[in-house]
Each structure stands twice: as C-alpha cells, then as structure tokens.
C-alpha cells in the first residue's frame, strides 16, 4: 500500500506518515518501508542493516548538519543526506 498519505491538521501543508529518512527529526523512531537506491548504494545500506521493515532511530545530525547518525538494532551507522533521502520510512 505505498503512497498512502494522511493529512493532519497541523497547519503547515502536507504532513505525511511516510517520508524519507532525511526528513526525520532527531530522536524519532521510524520503520523502513523501502529503498529507492540501486546497485552498490542499496547493497551497502542492506549490509549495514537498513533492511525493509526494520525499526531505526535517528540519533543526531553531525554538527554541520550532515551526515545523520542512526541506530539500527544496537549499533550506530552514519549516512549522508544524499543516501538518507533514498530511504522511504514510516513514522510511528
């Protein structure tokens, strides 16, 4: 059921339950829906545990705003925004 978007009345435009990992604010837990990456990038993400249906937590952004640090299972992975915007996630 991809593409299902809920509207909330939060006052500023569309707030959807699914967005990319790039937009998730620090401290939030999300569930990975799917990857939009291909080839090596996709493989690398899978290797490090960004497997669909997995829960991940965004811990923090680097002091300069990029990369993003996430917790997958019980270890931490840093990834750049350019990779994070290829991961579609679902917010709880």
């Amino acid at each position: 059921m991809p593409g299902r978007r809920d509207r909330h009345g939060h006052g500023h435009g569309k707030v959807c339950k699914c967005c990319t990992l790039m937009e998730v604010s620090s401290g939030k837990k999300v569930k990975i829906r799917c990857h939009h990456a291909k080839g090596a990038v996709r493989q690398r993400l899978l290797d490090l545990g960004f497997v669909p249906q997995t829960d991940i937590e965004v811990i923090r952004r680097a002091p300069l705003g990029d990369p993003i640090e996430c917790r997958v299972a019980n270890y931490k992975v840093a990834l750049r925004k350019s990779e994070a915007c290829l991961i579609e996630v679902e917010q709880y």
Binding site: R44, D47, A62, A73, Y75, E83
Partner: protein, 845 residues
C-alpha cells in the same frame, strides 16, 4: 568441496572472514601471535595479512581477509575476499561474529555457508555483549547453524585453544550438515539451475548452489565467471534470466529483494531463538560518551583539543626526545667515519665524502623517529578507540564539499595537518576510503600537508625574514596548506577525477573500545618501520644521485691550483709557528700534519656529541689511551710547547675548514645541478628564485630534509665566525637583494612542491599507475611555480612587502575556500521528497 578422504590433515589453510569492527584483527593476533607478515593481494592495493602457528602438530596458515559486510561484487574488498575463498579454497573459514550485533553478522555467515565452505564460528566480543545485557545461547546457535561456535574475547585471548581445536575438528569432519537458506517458491528453480550447471565445467570449481543463487540475483561477478567458463549466452545464464523475469512478472517484486527477505527472515529467526536481552537499558557507555563528544556545540571543542594534545605530545615532546636520540645517531656517524678512508688535506677520497653524505641524509630523517613513534601511537589509539570514526562523522560535510571524504581525516593527520607528519604513511592510510574519487583526491592532496621535513626549512626562512611576525608566519603556513589542499582537491575532483566511481557514505560508528597496548604498539611500529624503510632505500639511493650531480664535473684546474696554494701558505704558517717548540721534528712531513688535523677534527666532533661532564671526561680518557703521542696537542694542559702546537693547530684547522667550504661552493656552482639551476634562472626569476634556491629545490626532491642542508652549503660565508645559518642567509641575501617577498614565494612554492620521491613511489603503489605518479609530480610543480610567480611578480608590481603580501594572499585563499564550500552546499542540497509514484513506474518499465 573439501571432501578429502585422507586421514588427518596436518597442513591447513584457514581464511579469517567477517565484518569490519567485529574484532577480526584481534582474533587474528590471538591465533597467530606475532609471527605475521603483510603483502598485497596480487594486482590490487588491498593488504593481505598472513600468519602461521603450530598446534597439536598441525601447521596452520591463517589469512586475514579484508573486513566486509557481504560477499557481493560491489566493492574491491568484497571481490578480493570472495576471490580468495573461491580460488584458494581454504580448508576452514573462520567466521568472526560480533556477538553484540549478531543479526547483521549472520547475513555474512549465511552467505559463506551458501558457498559450502567448512566453517567454524568465532563469537567475538562476548564481554561487550554481556555488558550490554545480551545473552547468546551458544549451544543453540551452534545447533541451528550446524557448525562449531566458539565464544571468544579476542582482546583478552579468551577462547584461543577452543577455537584452534574447532578449526582442526572442522577440517577433518567428513559430513557437513549445515544450515541452508531456503528460497521458498524459488527453491525448485534454484535446484534445477544448480543441477544443470553440475553437468558443465563449473562443477567442482565453484559451489554450484551459490552460483545458481547469485546468477538468479543478477550478480555481476557470477555472470563474469559463467561467461568465462561457458562463453557468452550460455544455457545457465539464459535460464537464470528466465527465472528472474518470470518471478518478477508473477510477484511484482525484485528477485534480489525477495531473496534478501528470505535471508533476513532466517537470520531474525535464529537471533530470536538464541539471543535474550535482559536489559532494555540503552544508555551504554558509548552513548554517554557520544552525547558529549558529538554534541553540536562541544564537538568542535573536543576535536580541536584532540588535535592540540597530539601536537603537544608528538611534536613538542617528541622534539625534546630527539635531543636524547640525536647523540646516538651522531655516534653511528663517527663510527662510520672511522671505517671510511681518512680525510685528505683539501680533498677527501670520493668514497669518504659520499659515504658521509649518505649517512648525513639518512640521519637527518632518522632523527624524527621518536616523534613518529609517539605520533603514530596516538593515532593508533584514536583509531582503535573508535574516535577516529567520529572525527570522520563530524568533518564529513566539510570534506565532502571539496570532493573529499570524512575518512580523509586520518591520512591528513598522518601527513601532518598541524605541522609535522609524513606523507608516506599518510598516503598508505588512504586505503580505507571506500569512495574511489575521494580516495584519489586524498592521495593527491596529502603531500601538501606540512611534513616534518618542511618545518626546518620554513623555520629557517621565517627566522631570517619574518622575525617580528614569527608566530603569524608559522600559523599562516600551517593553515594555508589545509586550505590549499581543499581547493586543489575541489579542482581535481571537478576536472581530472570527475569520471571516477564514487561510493555512498554509509559508515558504522563502532562502539568505543579501550585500545590494547599490543594493537597500538604494533600499528605504530609498522608505520614507523615504513618510514625507516623509506629512509633506508629510496632516500639513500637518491641522495647518492644528488651527491654525484653536485660533485661533478668538479673544480677547474686553475681554481684548484689557487686553493692548493692557499693551503700551502697555511701549512707554512703552521710550521713557522711551531718551529721553536720541542715537537717541531714530529711534523716535518705533510702526512703527519694531516693525521693530526684529522684527529683534532674527530675529537672536536666527538666532543660535540657528548653530554655532561662525566661523558666528556671519559672521552678525554679514551683519546688519551688511544693516541698517547698526540693527546697533548688536543688538550695541552700545562705543557708549554704542546700549547704552542695546539694554538697553531687550531688556526690551521680553521683555515682548512674555510678553504674546504669555499671549494665546496665553487664545486656546487660548477656542478651539473648548479648548471641546471643557473639555466633555469631566466624562468624562475618570475618567482624570485636565484640559482641557489633552484639547486636546493631540486636536491630536496630526494627528501625534503636535504633542502636545509643544501642551503647550508650554499650560504657558507661567515660560517667560520660561527654565525648561525639564519644570520648567514640573512646577510648574504641582503647583499643579493633577497627580500621577505622572495622568501614568501619560496615558502609557498615549497608548500605546494611535489611530494618527495618516497611519497611518489607510495602514490604509485596506492593508485597502481605510473600515470598518476607522474601527475603527482608535474601538477604541483606547475601549480607551485605559478602561485609563487603570482606572489613575487604580483607583489613586486603592487609594491607590497612580504608580510603584507602574506596577508593579502592568505585572505584571498581563505575567502575562496569559504565561497566554494558554501556554493557547493547550496548547489548540492538534496531534494526532500522524490516523487515515488513516478519512480516506481519508471523502474517497472
């Protein structure tokens, strides 16, 4: 695969495989101890670590494979690890698992199991897992996987013998009844494909089930193998494509995704049945430290503090240590000097002068060993503890704006970001950068860092020309190089490196570990050893060439005659002076005078390299015992006649010294290098370089250290009055019109000057091509000369003096860097939400 029918094997090949940060190296060290050596895998720049050990009369060769997360064909390391497994066919694969993140580790295990290798699993980091409240049921895990599972703590050597037993047991086991991933509805197709391949030449060479799975997944390496074995458009390849297309049509999903799902479900299932978490508390030590050091405001502070501490301990304290270290090197030098043929009156035998030249060039470099040992130990501590990965995380954005990578930090630090390092280990350390383009950019820009050998040269010029702005000038130079490296990297990545392949930045931040003394010591010694090897081979070899080029064709005859005449004059003076003393008879012939002169010279040199009163007394005793007939001329004491000789001897010695020095200068200016230096003057005048500077620049290509030595030779006058080199360069250049602006141009050229020969050779090793090596020499030369010319000619035209030009130029470079960095970020900010629905339809089509 390894179903050998012989009895017990007593020669085993073991491959150690697993992910990065799973403690593979510590397990490797635990198994093999210290007898290991490192070579490169054939044809690639990846390290191959091998080691041997004997256990229960079995000789086991262990190979530490590159740390990889999986065995696909996307990265060089993965290809290397996979090729090793497929071609070398190890008897046992020891799979090192990180028990504190078991599920991810199991992905790798399942892939190796699929390849049908006999496996023993080393469940590492049990102590960390326990601390985090994770309990792994080893029995059950072993049962589920169908292989031996040994809990280990690599850092403490726990589980060593159990693992060694397991390796032998696994190697001699006939039946391997291991776990298999089942691919649900694809299973019949996989089996059919496997069976059809069993009739081809692939059978026996490769694990067939794995081949079948990989072909259906569309793995490029598997395709290549099939193409090589069975030719283009083989039946197997066609069948695999059919299976894939049919599945994707039926299920509306990617085959690779589906297969991944199967593996994922299995891994999850295993973890759920074997692992119990009794503590839901997530606030482990690592998190607490990270909350502090990665805090948005505190992070820069900790970063600067770390750099400062390294600088203080390694560079400042290391220099202190060289005071204790240098006498030993000086002893070696005088020992060698004794072995070589004795010095002549005016001209030394060629062997002697060349030998001493070699020793001096080597000593100049070996002097830095204490600094490097400290520096490399500290860096190894940073790496092993896990903070290095955090530095990469903090700085990635900055580096990435200029085409570099967060992991360029380590090479830069080794290369000497803040005054002092060496480009050779710096270039070596670029190995870990996954992104090819950034790696190349890092390799080509590390040499701009201030290596330890550039520092004396800067110090010399700054002390002459920028005395009142000493600290500013040093700050300018040490930071200018960082900006220069960033700008050049930007330039290269958007031009010549543009087409190189890039990789995503997805990097694990490992948990903090207390580093072990063995691990840190090993790495520090390894890197220092690389440096010593560089000195021992390349630098010495090149120094011989430079020496020859500076020595020949030698002095013209009339010049030589003039010098000899002056020396005879000095000898006559000596004879007249001692005529009245009772020792006059001893010095009738020239040879006896030469012997005395040489002895006096050695004695002075030995005196210089001793410290403290006792040592100097001991030295006197030594000379007294060895040369009883001569000692009174060195230290006359109360003997009046000997005093007379001693006085005359001192005078004679100093006139000999100054004559030799003059000869040296004439010889250099007459030499091949001198000629080249002169012939370059018409060009280099734009940068304000005179021929002496040209010679110094050329001779410093062997190793930077020789630049100061060469300048020391060229600026000789006044050395007899014991003026320091700074004063000499200053007074002489004052006459020659050498201004601070000249000095600035020279320093900038030196900062951008191509890497020394040892580094270029390392660049060849790391890039695997002579093309890049040549580029790394020619490009910086051109660039350095261009910038130096702009500074000198531009500065002269604008009527600015050295320090003003320094300010102007520095502001320009900093501004340019900031503008470029900001522009890049503004241009590259990713679009927030791609339109998935459109993308999805595109992918289907």
């Amino acid at each position: 695969m390894n179903s050998s029918n012989e009895a017990r094997k007593d020669n085993l090949l073991v491959g150690l495989a697993g992910q990065q940060n799973a403690g593979k190296s510590t397990t490797f060290n635990m198994l093999t101890g210290a007898n290991q050596h490192i070579v490169n895998y054939p044809g690639v720049t990846v390290d191959k670590k091998t080691g041997f050990y004997r256990y229960k009369d079995v000789r086991v060769e262990t190979v530490d494979l590159p740390g990889t997360y999986s065995l696909t064909s996307f990265s060089l390391e993965e290809r290397v690890a996979r090729d090793f497994l497929l071609t070398e066919q190890p008897d046992v694969v020891v799979n090192v698992l990180d028990s504190s993140s078991l599920k991810r580790s199991l992905y790798f295990t399942l892939q190796v199991l699929e390849m049908d290798f006999p496996i023993a699993v080393a469940l590492n980091m049990m102590d960390v897992a326990k601390r985090n409240g994770t309990h792994v049921d080893v029995e059950r895990l072993s049962h589920r996987l169908g292989v031996d599972v040994i809990p280990t703590v690599g850092r403490k050597g726990k589980g060593k013998n159990e693992l060694r037993d397991a390796i032998i047991a696994t190697a001699n086991r006939k039946e391997h009844n291991v776990l298999r991933v089942t691919y649900e509805e694809l299973e019949p197709e996989v089996a059919a494909l496997e069976e059809s391949m069993g009739k081809t030449t692939l059978s026996g060479k490769y694990p067939l089930r794995w081949m079948a799975v990989k072909l259906i997944e569309g793995d490029s390496e598997a395709r290549r193998i099939v193409r090589e074995e069975l030719g283009e458009n083989s039946a197997a390849q066609t069948k695999a494509n059919e299976i894939r297309d049919k599945f994707e049509e039926d299920h509306y999903m990617d085959v690779a995704d589906f297969m991944l799902g199967c593996r994922d479900r299995l891994a999850t299932d295993i973890v759920e049945s074997c692992v119990t978490e009794d503590k839901e508390g997530r606030d482990t030590i690592t998190d607490m430290i990270d909350n502090i050091v990665l805090n948005r405001f505190a992070a820069p502070f900790f970063l600067v503090a770390t750099v400062f501490v390294i600088y203080q301990l390694a560079i400042v304290q290391g220099y202190e240590l060289t005071n204790y270290w240098w006498p030993y090197l000086a002893k070696v030098r005088s020992f060698i000097a004794d072995l070589l043929p004795a010095a002549g009156l005016l001209e030394d035998p060629y062997v002697r002068s060349m030998g001493l030249w070699m020793v001096d060039s080597a000593n100049g470099l070996l002097n830095y060993i204490p600094i490097f040992v400290i520096l490399f130990s500290l860096i190894a501590i940073l790496e092993d503890s896990g903070y290095m990965a955090r530095i990469a995380f903090i700085l990635d954005k900055l580096f990435h704006s200029f085409g570099l990578h967060g992991q360029s930090t380590l090479p830069y630090i080794l290369g000497g970001v803040f005054a002092g390092g060496c480009a050779v280990p710096g270039v070596m350390a670029t190995k870990g950068i996954p992104d090819e383009r950034s790696r190349m950019a890092t390799i080509l820009t590390v040499p701009y860092m201030n290596c330890l050998a550039k520092i004396p040269f800067y110090t010399l010029l700054i002390n002459v020309f920028f005395v009142e702005y000493k600290s500013w000038a040093m700050l300018f130079l040490s930071t200018f190089t960082i900006f220069a490296a960033l700008l050049i990297s930007k330039l290269l990545t958007s031009t010549v490196l543009k087409t190189m392949e890039t990789a995503p930045f997805v990097m694990e931040l490992p948990k903090y570990h207390p580093p072990t003394i063995f691990g840190v010591g090993q790495r520090a010694v390894e890197r220092t050893w690389q440096y010593i090897k560089k000195v021992g081979s390349i630098v010495v070899a090149v120094s011989v060439c430079v020496f020859t080029l500076l020595q020949f064709p030698g002095l013209p005859a009339e010049k030589m005659a003039e010098f000899e005449g002056r020396m005879d004059q000095a000898l006559v003076t000596f004879q007249t002076k001692i005529k009245k003393s009772s020792y006059a008879g001893e010095f009738q012939d020239v040879q006896s005078v030469v012997n005395l002169l040489n002895l006096y010279h050695d004695y002075k040199n030995d005196k210089m390299s001793t410290r403290g009163k006792e040592a100097s007394l001991a030295l006197n005793e030594k000379y007294k015992a060895e040369y009883p007939g001569m000692y009174m001329f060195l230290k006359p004491g109360a003997d009046k006649d000997a005093k007379v000789v001693n006085r005359a001897l001192r005078k004679l010695s100093s006139s000999r010294k100054s004559l030799r020095r003059e000869m040296k200068e004439v010889r250099i200016s007459n030499s091949f290098l001198g000629m080249v230096g002169r012939s370059l003057e018409p060009v280099t005048q734009w940068a304000g370089f005179n021929w002496k500077i040209n010679v110094a620049i050329m001779s410093s290509f062997a190793a930077r250290e020789s630049s100061v030595a060469t300048i020391g030779v060229l600026y000789q006058q006044g050395a007899d009055e014991n003026k320091s080199l700074e004063e000499r360069v200053g007074s002489e250049s004052g006459e020659g019109g050498f201004t601070p602006l000249h000095a600035l141009a020279v320093m900038i050229f030196f900062a951008l000057y191509p890497p020394c020969l040892a580094t270029t050779i390392m660049i060849k090793v790391q890039t695997g091509s002579y093309k890049w090596m040549t580029f790394s020499i020619l490009f910086p030369t051109a660039l350095g000369f261009l910038v130096a010319s702009v500074i000198y000619t531009g500065g002269s035209a604008a009527g600015l003096n050295g320090i003003q030009m320094m300010g102007v130029f520095y502001s320009f470079v900093v501004l340019l860097t900031i503008v470029l960095g900001l522009f890049d970020n503004w241009r590259k900010d990713p679009v927030p939400l791609p339109d998935f629905s459109q993308q999805a339809t595109k992918e289907r089509s």
